[in-house]
Assembly symmetry: C2
Homo-oligomer: 597 residues x 2
């Protein structure tokens, strides 16, 4: 039993100065966490209890899914991360240090390399697979902007799991098993979630989904449709528009457009000089050509021109995802020096890609021209003429120019169609609480993990990687479950099930509260008893609401008539005869727990 | 249920090359741990199960003792350790690093500072005390010589607890409570232990005891008597010899002793030149004067001369403990340059301390002269005459010379009397598995932790610090419980209670083994089932013995007659009718567990 008289907690009435989001404010005010350094937190008794309960649920579901728990060091030598490339790829986010012998070490941000090496060390045959391993362990990332308490911290607890299979079918099965386990975990935790298609980014690999907790303070934008589609904006594919019949379209004409430096002024100028036969040209009829530079892993820098409708912004995160593993930035004036045919502000498709006048053997060759899929074959466009102050009107894709390929470059907008036809998309924000990846053979190849197959042939193992941010989940639960007065934990993770308040000065109140507490504890109900004698009832009620234990029992004035209050932190208060309290509260707790089991 | 067919384990028949002690060899060979880097280990599923069981026992006893669990970060900012002085005091043992903003951080070797600051942050009144907090957490020390697997590793799990009291009586009570909890913990773990008086060394403070697991491979020497006394050699106090009546002793005489460069040649020369009236001079009659340099915390270097009987070596660890917090080393020729009166090889007490001819105002002043308590007042000595090739014979302590004080400098020897009169001492080795300290006010003063007492007066809090090396305890248990064939875990921490071996090829063996396993698991017995079909019975038996689960059940040839074997890993094998197995094995397990609860 927890007792407020001795529990190591001090509730605060004031919000901490550095806390911007509700979960952070309340976890500090309620005495669950304390800041030790920027982005680094200490877990106080109540916070640790919630953390352990989350871990237990995760552990149970991982074991049920056949994953076996191990535990890796956080302090690791440089070599494996050098082999995978992440020693440098991680950049300043990686905490690095030297030991007394001047050897390089790091604090692991995640453990793909070590798991790969461990399995390589232990296993050698296809008969040993499939294998699934996990750990619940402290990780380190030197975030540029730690924020929102333990939502983005620099030392945090993560569950990371890894699957090892001989072939794709095995990886698919391992991935599916982990995906189901994650659904059960978040359901048991009582945390709403959306499974978003994601691109795997720097991790490499083929399939990847994020478990996002939708909430306004989230940093991750995603889209979803009423029909159940959900994806990261990086992963959204555009519904291709139908091909346009261009047989009746006239030939393109060039017009002089001095001062048309924005899409809006261009549209006005074009409607004046070369009106559209069947209406008005709009921004959606302009073809914007954006020059980017992709830096490939081998260090090669490639200039690429991307065409997209002028009414949409380029989403560089989508571009980068499409060109991964290259890193992408806007082209610099230095990049453009090699291509005098690209006139800034007036770039058109005729100067790039297949129709470029640059000879095939030129060095550098013509930039690749990639088109956003919003540009339909046969459609006609207002675009640059590759001459200062000149645009071309009525240029038809497929007749007057071609592209080297397609790229998802335009921003996704609310109202866009979901790619699976499940309706228009809405844009939402969320916090990533889980992530499942099909890593494929990237790490196994880099570190030499292979097994002999049934024919004695060496096969590189294919892997999956599956993470849950344990400390972040705790903050997400606090974010989802609070009101203006405090936290409101789901029963499955609450630091206690019932918060009993002896409200008043009379000894009989305390005696009755103790008796109720003892009875409930005997029934397996976890009790937090406010047995403080010199604290006012008002302060006790405020603490009850702040701490967020799901049910409350108030032993106060009504005791004289043999009655106490039973409160639901998220619902109503009822009065009950004292002799019924043990049974009724026990029932409430059991029912709340079983709803989540 | 654990199944050998899927358990992530590979047993090794060969000892790992880098393993010098049995526990290290066996933990690696049995697949409990794997080395990730020098002194840094990965915990495999079986090892992690044992570790978690040890943690659970520690946690239960800490909670029973009223300590509350919190969890601090491992990555900490420099400032608190700067305030306590440990940022530099820890030397190269402290892992240091910088974050992306070039701020200094460390990986915490222990958390006195942070606990002190947390309590300062939360509490302000004597009414909040006493308070006891603990954590089970990963610690980092860059050991110069990591050794013996997880016995001395660089990343390790420690339980550290801290008590906070207003006064000495409170600290004594907190210390006593923690001492009892430690006794219960090690008893439940089944680990033999000796509680040794210890000096607190760099931690500062007044009272300190170590819990040592006695074993040959231990690095910590300690002494104990049959009557129950036990102490670190640094903490042993000498039983003072009775004062000698010197009234009949003649005056000292000087003799020329060319070539008497050892105690033995000196004794021979003296017996020749100035025979002892009542027998022979021995090494025990020679007074050796050793010059050391003590470096005080303020950086001041002090030359000290220590006198002790020539038949005993100086124990520099004892000297350093006696002069703490100064660090002590042998004096260098540079140190001696300032004291031409000290003639190397012929130093005698007449040149130092109270009888020094050096004027009181001289700079430097005469070195302090400290005498080991083995030197009795009134006793007569052969010692140096402070002239080359000259010794003095029959110099009487208290008549011919005095000292500035006493110091425990001589080595402790087997057969010496225990200071509490409990008999002669024996010298033993052990591994430190726990340590309890009365820190006193050192950290509270350095970091400003005070509370208001009942009179509204500010009082600096007095603290205790209490550690258990969780990962080291695991290795100690393996060291204590093994034989030539493998590990032999106590039931309280074993990765499973029963190891069931299906020994043979027939399906019926496997079916029977599965049924026994299911029955035992239903009764709460943890089963490791060797259900591998293509592995020989010999390999399975070897694995059973290596892994060290306390009980085994072999389903083999006897099954045809309805009989199976029940094995006690540390005892005998019996045959039993299969229908009795569930009950009899359950009984064995329950009895083994309750013997340790």
């Amino acid at each position: 039993m927890l007792r407020m008289s001795s529990l190591f907690v001090r509730t605060l009435r004031e919000d901490p100065a550095d806390a911007e989001v509700a979960s952070h404010r309340l976890l500090v005010r309620a005495g669950y966490i304390r800041r030790a350094a920027p982005g680094i937190y200490t877990w106080l008794p109540l916070g640790l209890r919630v953390l352990r309960k989350i871990e237990r649920i995760v552990r149970e579901e991982m074991e049920a899914a056949g994953s076996q728990e191990v535990h890796f060091p956080a302090l690791l030598p440089r070599e494996p991360y050098e082999a995978s490339g992440r020693w440098s790829d991680y950049g300043p986010t990686l905490f690095k240090l030297k030991d007394r012998k001047e050897s390089d070490y790091l604090l692991a941000p995640t453990h793909e390399e070590l798991f790969t090496l461990l399995v390589k060390d232990m296993y050698s045959s296809y008969k040993d697979l499939p294998l699934s391993l996990y750990q619940i362990q402290t990780k380190y990332r030197d975030e540029a902007r730690p924020r929102a308490g333990v939502i983005r911290s620099r030392e945090f607890v993560m569950k990371d799991a890894y699957s090892f299979d001989v072939d794709e079918a095995g990886l698919d099965a391992s991935y599916a098993a982990m995906r189901s386990a994650y659904q059960r975990i978040f359901a048991r935790l009582g945390l709403p979630f959306v499974i978003c298609s994601a691109v795997s980014g720097a991790m490499g690999g083929s399939r990847s989904e994020e478990f996002l907790f939708p909430c306004e303070i989230g940093e991750d934008a995603f889209v979803r449709s009423a029909g159940g589609y959900a994806a990261n904006t990086e992963a959204v594919t555009t519904v291709p528009p139908v091909e346009v019949d261009s047989s009746s379209f006239g030939q393109p004409i060039e017009i002089v457009t001095p001062g048309a430096s924005t899409i809006a002024t261009l549209v006005d100028a074009v409607n004046e000089a070369a009106p559209k036969p069947d209406g008005l040209w709009t921004a959606a009829d302009t073809l914007k050509n954006v020059v980017v530079a992709a830096v490939h892993p081998d260090g090669k820098r490639e200039v690429i021109v991307i065409g997209l409708p002028g009414d949409r912004d380029v989403d560089m995160k989508r571009v980068e995802a499409a060109l991964a593993p290259a890193e992408v930035e806007m082209a610099t004036p230095e990049d453009l020096e090699a291509y005098p045919e690209l006139v800034p502000g007036y770039i058109g498709p005729q100067a790039v890609g297949p129709q470029s006048a640059r000879p095939a053997e030129a060095e550098p060759p013509a930039p690749r021209y990639l088109l956003d899929p919003h540009v339909a074959r046969g459609s006609r466009w207002v675009t640059g003429a590759n001459k200062p102050d000149v645009h071309v009107v009525g240029l038809v894709y497929g007749r007057d120019f071609e592209a080297d390929g397609s790229i998802e470059a335009a921003e996704v907008r609310a109202g866009d169609e979901a790619p699976d036809g499940s309706g228009p998309l809405e844009i939402a924000k969320g916090i990533e609480v889980g992530h499942i990846f099909q890593l494929g053979r990237k790490y196994a190849k880099a570190l030499g993990l292979s097994v002999l197959d049934e024919n004695g042939k060496s096969r590189t193992v294919t892997m999956g990687s599956y993470g849950i941010g344990i400390t972040r989940v705790l903050a997400a639960l606090a974010e989802e479950n609070h009101d203006g007065r405090g936290l409101m934990w789901p029963a499955s993770v609450a630091p206690a099930h019932v918060h009993i308040v002896a409200a008043g000065k009379d000894d009989s109140l305390y005696a009755a509260a103790e008796e109720i507490a003892a009875g409930l504890e005997a029934d397996g109900v976890e009790v937090l008893l406010d047995d403080r004698r010199k604290v006012s009832a008002g302060v006790k009620f405020a603490d009850y609401e702040l701490l967020g234990v799901p049910f409350g029992v108030v032993v106060g004035r009504g005791l004289a008539e043999g009655r106490v209050e039973i409160r639901d932190r998220a619902g109503e208060t009822i009065e009950a005869p004292i002799e019924q309290v043990r049974e009724r509260v026990g029932e409430l707790v059991r029912s709340a727990l079983s709803a989540q089991s």
